[in-house]
């Protein structure tokens, strides 16, 4: 059975970088960042493309964010997505997972969907909330932390990772939402011709009207959300930090190992 697949992608600042707090204390400084496709979403995208290759169908990649996210959507097109949609809400931070999920849900409603895939978490805000929220809002059956997916007729069998290496296997009916875990597959590289082609493909933009809203602030929310402030984490570390050249550090490391009795002499 050909599948209508929707994969939700997020572009995030590379979390390996250093971050500075913006002067107003409500965001990080964004003028100095470089962005990439969220790690878990790479696996969600790959899983969607593999499901299409196996079962037939189409993959639509959806994101929420400023113009810069088009680069990520083109990457998704080059890796096998058939269509790319950007919800054109330009908030560079978009801290509120609840609002993001409601906007994504409104966009997914406009698309045929048998399976909606997300990454298990975004590495910038680590909420692990968007997938479950989307499922709840859209009334979809769902499974989280999915490491294995097999579509069997009108149902899908999934393995979900629990703590300590256990996996819980379920089947659920389509349409369903799955949040995909890191390592679920091996994401492909985009071939050069596909990259060239993707550069010319149109990206569909959804404004507030397309989502039934008068403006971006009109999303009905059962709460008011605010960022009180960002700060460097309060250092709770007590590590003895060893400075110096590598040779000096090595001397101290060896000394520590000897003092604590991990090596003799």
């Amino acid at each position: 059975m050909p599948l209508n697949l929707v994969v939700c992608l997020k572009q995030i600042p590379n979390p390996d970088l250093q971050f500075q707090i913006a002067p107003d204390g409500k965001d990080i400084r964004r003028d100095v960042l470089n962005y990439k496709l969220n790690g878990a979403d790479e696996y969600a995208l790959e899983e969607a493309v593999r499901l299409k290759e196996k079962n037939g169908g189409r993959v639509v990649a959806v994101t929420l964010g400023p113009k810069r996210t088009e680069q990520m959507l083109r990457e998704a097109l080059a890796k096998g997505a058939d269509e790319a949609v950007r919800i054109a809400w330009d908030d560079p931070a978009a801290f509120d997972a609840g609002k993001n999920a409601r906007l994504l849900a409104a966009a997914v409603r406009t698309l045929p969907h048998d399976l909606v895939l997300t990454g298990v978490q975004s590495d910038d805000y680590v909420n692990s909330a968007t997938g479950g929220l989307l499922a709840g809002i859209l009334g979809l059956a769902h499974a989280s932390v999915v490491t294995r997916v097999a579509v069997q007729g009108s149902r899908v069998e999934v393995a979900c990772e629990l703590e300590g290496g256990l996996q819980r296997v379920y089947t659920l009916p389509l349409p369903a939402l799955l949040s995909i875990q890191f390592g679920a597959n091996t994401p492909r590289y985009a071939p050069l011709p596909a990259i060239m082609k993707a550069a010319r493909q149109p990206i569909k933009e959804l404004g507030p009207a397309a989502l039934g809203l008068s403006n971006w602030e009109a999303v009905p929310l059962p709460y008011a959300f605010g960022i009180r402030g960002l700060s460097p984490p309060t250092a709770k570390g007590h590590a003895e930090m060893i400075a110096g050249s590598v040779e000096e550090q090595a001397k101290r490391f060896a000394q520590v190992l000897r003092e604590k009795g991990f090596v003799r002499r």
Binding site: P15, G132, A143, G164, G165, R168, A224, L257
Partner: protein, 325 residues
């Protein structure tokens, strides 16, 4: 008694998850802020789990037992539907859930289904008047955020495991109340098939006294040889952070962290591991933690006892030389 705090207990194969006892510790000051320290309840969902409910009543909390054959195995739908009734009848201000695979499966779905506010993966939560203030960590633990939610609806909160100290049992037993569960089994869409256990063929990290773990900072698979040589020299075994086992540089059995092994060796050397929460959860209780990382802001230094801002690929051979000298 309406309002207050509702905790959702987590259990698997008749064992209570340690994170549930942490939620109890989190709930008490919240209930106090709401005017009554005792206005906190814990919901136990399952089938034939009265012993778990009775055990939790020993933590000086009223226990709501939601027993239904359709809850015998965890499903997201089962939890959302059963909790819906309890949330509607007890109208809690705050619903506390652990940020575990199971917790962040059903908590956001509950919030989405019932149109409730949600804040997840919190280190701490406070109530200030009509506001809930949550402390969270962003961007690989490098930024701390305080988030506030104002709402007259119950607020769903997931707490990061290990963020607070677990509660010990209190004096005195509270009551276990069996709550009728309104649940239509045919509306539970997920069908449980089985639990799969990890295959144990490899070494067992959880029994090792010395673990030298490698992370993305070692850059290339070939560099694992260096980590192995170092581990061997000090009588240890090699572990890894998640990205390395995801890339199949090492078998899954070597993964230290929330989704892998929890270890308590006498010595843990973290080589090029940034220290994401998921890794730290699995090794923070090691006797001596030595961290080697080129990034001085890497969160691994927060849990380390000894820290080297260095490239492990240079420091390990230099230390080996030093040990042989």
């Amino acid at each position: 008694m309406a309002g207050g705090v509702l905790i959702v207990a987590e259990h698997l194969e008749r064992r209570i998850a340690p994170s549930t006892l942490e939620l109890i510790a989190t709930a008490r000051p919240l209930a106090q802020a709401l005017g009554d320290e005792r206005n906190a309840r814990i919901a136990v969902l399952g089938h034939g789990v009265r012993d778990i409910a009775t055990h939790l009543a020993g933590y000086a909390l009223d226990v709501l037992l939601l027993d239904h054959p359709a809850l015998a195995e965890y499903t997201g739908d089962g939890y959302v539907q059963a909790l819906r009734g309890t949330v509607e009848s007890t109208k809690p201000r705050v619903i506390l859930v652990a940020h575990t695979s199971q917790g962040y499966d059903f908590a956001p779905a509950l919030a989405g289904t019932m149109d409730l506010p949600l804040v997840t993966n919190c280190l701490a939560v406070d109530l200030e008047g009509d506001r809930l203030v949550a402390t969270r960590r962003l961007l690989n633990e490098k930024v701390q955020a305080q988030v506030e939610i104002r709402s007259d609806r119950p607020i769903v909160v997931t707490m990061r495991p290990g963020a607070v100290k677990a509660m010990g049992p209190a004096r005195g037993m509270m009551t276990v109340t069996e709550v009728p569960v309104t649940l239509d089994p045919s509306s539970i869409r997920e069908t449980f098939v089985r639990l799969e256990r990890p295959q144990v063929q490899d070494i067992d990290l959880s029994t090792a006294d010395i673990i030298v773990s490698a992370g993305r900072g070692i850059q290339k698979k070939e560099n694992l040889a260096l980590v192995e040589e170092f581990a061997k020299a000090i009588g240890g075994v090699v572990g890894a952070s998640r990205p390395l086992t995801d890339m199949d540089w090492l078998p899954k059995t070597r993964q230290v962290g929330q989704s892998g092994k929890t270890v308590r060796p006498k010595l843990y050397v973290a080589c090029g591991i940034s220290g994401a929460m998921q890794h730290v959860a699995g090794m923070k209780d090691a006797g001596l933690i030595v961290a080697i990382n080129t990034d001085p802001t890497a969160p691994i230094f927060e849990v380390a006892h000894v820290g080297f801002i260095a490239d492990a690929l240079k420091l390990l051979p230099a230390t080996l030389k030093e040990l042989k000298a």
